[in-house]
Symmetry: C2
Amino acid sequence: MPVFEETGTEYRDLRILPSQALPLPRLSPRVSTSENDREVVVVGAGPSGLFLTLLLARYGITGSSLLCLDSKPDTLKAGQADGLQPRTLEVLQSLGIASEIIAEGCHMEEVAFWNPAEPTEGTNGNGPVGIKRTNFVPDVNVPARFPFEVTIHQGRIERILQENLDVYASKNTIRRSHHFIDYTVDTANHPDYPVLVNYEHELEDGTRVPGSVRTKYLVGGDGARSKVRKSMGLSLEGETSDHIWGVCDFVADTDFPDIRNRCAVHSESGSVMVIPREQIATGEYLTRLYVQVPGDVDAKADRTTTPGDEKKSSDKKKRAEVTLEYIFGQANAVFAPYKIKIREGTVPDWYAAYQIGQRMSPKFSSRTADGVDRIFIVGDACHTHSPKAGQGMNVSMMDSFNLSWKLAHSILGLTPHASENGADTVLETFEAERVDTARQLIEFDAKFSHMFSGKLNAETGLTHDEFLKVFRDGSGFTSGCGLEYKPSRLIWSPQNSDDMVVATGDPINGALTVGRRFLNVELKRYADNTTRQLHDELPSNGRYRLMVLTGSDLLEPDDQSQKALEACATIADKHPAGSIDLAIIHPLKERFEWTQIPSCVKRLAEMRTYGLAKTGDAYKIYGITKEQGAIVAIRPDGYVGALCRLSALDLVEKYFQGCLITI
Amino acid sequence: MPVFEETGTEYRDLRILPSQALPLPRLSPRVSTSENDREVVVVGAGPSGLFLTLLLARYGITGSSLLCLDSKPDTLKAGQADGLQPRTLEVLQSLGIASEIIAEGCHMEEVAFWNPAEPTEGTNGNGPVGIKRTNFVPDVNVPARFPFEVTIHQGRIERILQENLDVYASKNTIRRSHHFIDYTVDTANHPDYPVLVNYEHELEDGTRVPGSVRTKYLVGGDGARSKVRKSMGLSLEGETSDHIWGVCDFVADTDFPDIRNRCAVHSESGSVMVIPREQIATGEYLTRLYVQVPGDVDAKADRTTTPGDEKKSSDKKKRAEVTLEYIFGQANAVFAPYKIKIREGTVPDWYAAYQIGQRMSPKFSSRTADGVDRIFIVGDACHTHSPKAGQGMNVSMMDSFNLSWKLAHSILGLTPHASENGADTVLETFEAERVDTARQLIEFDAKFSHMFSGKLNAETGLTHDEFLKVFRDGSGFTSGCGLEYKPSRLIWSPQNSDDMVVATGDPINGALTVGRRFLNVELKRYADNTTRQLHDELPSNGRYRLMVLTGSDLLEPDDQSQKALEACATIADKHPAGSIDLAIIHPLKERFEWTQIPSCVKRLAEMRTYGLAKTGDAYKIYGITKEQGAIVAIRPDGYVGALCRLSALDLVEKYFQGCLITI
């Protein structure tokens, strides 16, 4: 029996609880710790609002700093968004919360395209009948860590976000049954917490009790009918298209052979989209069907959200005619000769009719009298569109992902001091980057959903090949992996200087490109000889990364690589501890010892120093030569901010001076 | 805006909560639902007892059927076991609870061997000084789904098991501060619940309140000093070796270069083992050191657990001399010229001294007067040994894994009717299989720990190469992946019949072998074209699997493969629904339609029908020809029970008749 002595009892719980990311350092004072003075108030606890709240909490905005108000009494239970794109999966993985989604969600690796059968393939005497499979096409056409889409109940994703929030923040961070009313600003009398948020708390008996709370920043993640957006004086602008669709989540009983694949089915009777869904508690599998309601509605009328529109009420009437019977009647017409019905003994989860529309707000932020961007909107409050390309929840959550670290850095005093007009130049990149993304979303969706709704035949002039081309070309965008942010203070164009590097190869295949996320690569960690995924090694914890791909001269004292490593350590030390992580990749095949490289590497990056793995050559994938190497500045959200030569140390220093406060 | 109708509200929560495995079917009546009449009482909530409780709950033994008594007031917080072997990881993954362990635990892929430096490599004038790295060797030398060991705090594993238990069973399934006293049996007056378990409940003020509960089955997972074992009249038997070791978990500050590797260090001053551990909440990494205390102690004295042994008290005194200072003094002597200390500002978690001993109980079960095996022991209650090979928690949990489904099947009425003497012939295989495993464990550990404690030089006659050979040869056993259960009612030797198949190739590399677990392979699921890991497709939910590897004649009507599929469907239908899952692998490269194969496949195995993936040819790995195929009967724990020709349908039928009740 051992003689046992426990010495570190105070740390015991920390050893067994789920891991927590370390918070960012705080350089700014907390002016007030009153519950009435928040640093951020988020309105809405759907995917965008809840995700923002979680990210802020993880970065260190917790306790009485953070509040989320949601009008619903409880979390969402049915329907709505269900698709997660590869980039969203990468981001969730970078937060350590993807495993249940990937293990339990339905993967979509291929799409089956079905089209009207040729006359020779089956007729009823009056021309072609029925449908035939034209081909299978990969669902994701770009390299990604998870080369598939996942479908899973939105409520389950929200539950996972909520559970992780509980690890970082107190249980009452989210107040439910709280209806946002409006906000007012008073920078003169309340310079620290100038935004007054007015709400009503709905009691169980339906009574509404008015209340208010002051905050530094207000974010509206309150959906397409956002009241925060309305208070900002903004509205969604754009078209409502002429297509009405029915949608239903249910357990299918069918002889249609591809019911477990994502399918785009065009028949003479209309269009259907099949979205396979996850296995449920009974052991059965859900299916989502999108069924087109044939016939056009008037597309000319005004489509902004202004009320009192006759056209809208006629569309509404038409949507009301979309019953469950109608959906399945129409589905069977499209699927013929195959049959589809609800499995006996089961009840569908929900069904709905909706009209496709692409609309967006012209601005996503609002500046107060003191020159500071204090009010923001994210998610459906910024943009609405069809569900066809599975983008909704993804672009919404990525709005929050973009805003969260900029807002946290600003609040925590990590951004450089404000410009003359008072605005935070890091924070103001949120609007520029996400408005641009939303515009691409709206354009792609208009094109994609129009083609999807049209019949593919001589009459409409649409061919299957054209449809396929839009689908394939759009994969960079729809997967989220091809997103490229435009040059800014945070994204340094290579045209800035000859000392910047342009990587060799196609950016979509991994060649390092400013404005794009770095692709995951497999590496071998030097310290323990274990195989690592680089995405897991640089998690989304709000920190910048200074990643040095050393040259093959690494072991030569006083050569370029060793000089670069030492200089990068010095640059990192000029900013607050915990704001920049140093990471090193080397191309050497032979084993070396810590003593052969600068000691700053072991000091700052003992567990972030990597060699090449057996599978995949990181230098080749990233388009960097092993002779020359490169220095990569990576933003906290994983996007490349600058790509410089090993000798361009002044540039690297300048880049970080533009993003982070110097100490 | 959609017209929205939610129809399946009663199922809503089930869509968003964590997934639950479906319970096994129940054919036996619940005689009593009183809390005083349990079907199973487990004593001890350490890894073996807690794991058993969780497994039983997952299989459907829940509610008032199940009770676990633990003497401790709370879960474990410090020290003890920390290593999970590849097979244990596979089993945890098969329950869907491995992801946190794999993501957050420390992976060990290689072992560094260090030995005394040669005289030419460094001297102090009096001969050799210091140590040098002899080589790196892979830590796991056999194919496994996770080709590494993981180290992580035992308390964290227990927390994960406990959280999963909470998904399946009520919160009061585990009663803490309950001390098991003894049990009595009365089959005459209480034929249904003949075992009376006596315990004392310790209140917060230290008062002990006696209590008792009746049960059908009692399992002791109550550790090396098991009182359940004592009540059975059994004791641990075997040797206590002559080596004393110190152990400490702490954050290291060292220039020893391989501190993040598992290391076996032999120096002129003694031996040290380095076990790298997981990252902790501060961002630092733990290290575990095992430090040999030089000098032998008397190994001749009696080593059974009988008390009053003078030798034991002298050993105890020696162990008491192992202080924290002693451990680090000795470590520095071995590591010289490298230095190692506790990182400034940190406190070690714990330290202890222990003496290596290999002991086991001669029996793991006890039969009551009615001829039924009703009392069992698992884990340390059955066997104790050194921690050197990282086996403790693993073999213990695998005891429970082996017992759990046999016990559940017996209780739920799924096993064939009892033999003449009343014993359940399925359940009685537990003792045979696990006693044999424990014996192998004891033998390996004695050899391994003796070599580890000895100096590697001419004096002891031990060479580094000999040590390496024991290490490598032992990998099948230490990884858990090479375990082979002996022929029994559940393991059909190929010598039984010419109609059984002997796969081509080395069993350790995946060739299907009765008695061994089937290796994971990557496959492509037919229904949705997604890439799957076979281990994830056949999770540990208590069901047998009837896996048909069809021949290349699959599409030929009335040929061997189609006949086999239809016959296997009939065999599965002869046993309770939910007791056998049909699964199909086919070798065809061309696409086919459901209508080309027997309809029973879509009916019973729509989501368990697979083709070959791009990486790895399942037939080749499993050593089965594509021309002939094979039928594999797989036990609920993933071990191959029988391997038959496609034509040997009578044999397959007979196999399942021997394991499962026929309906």
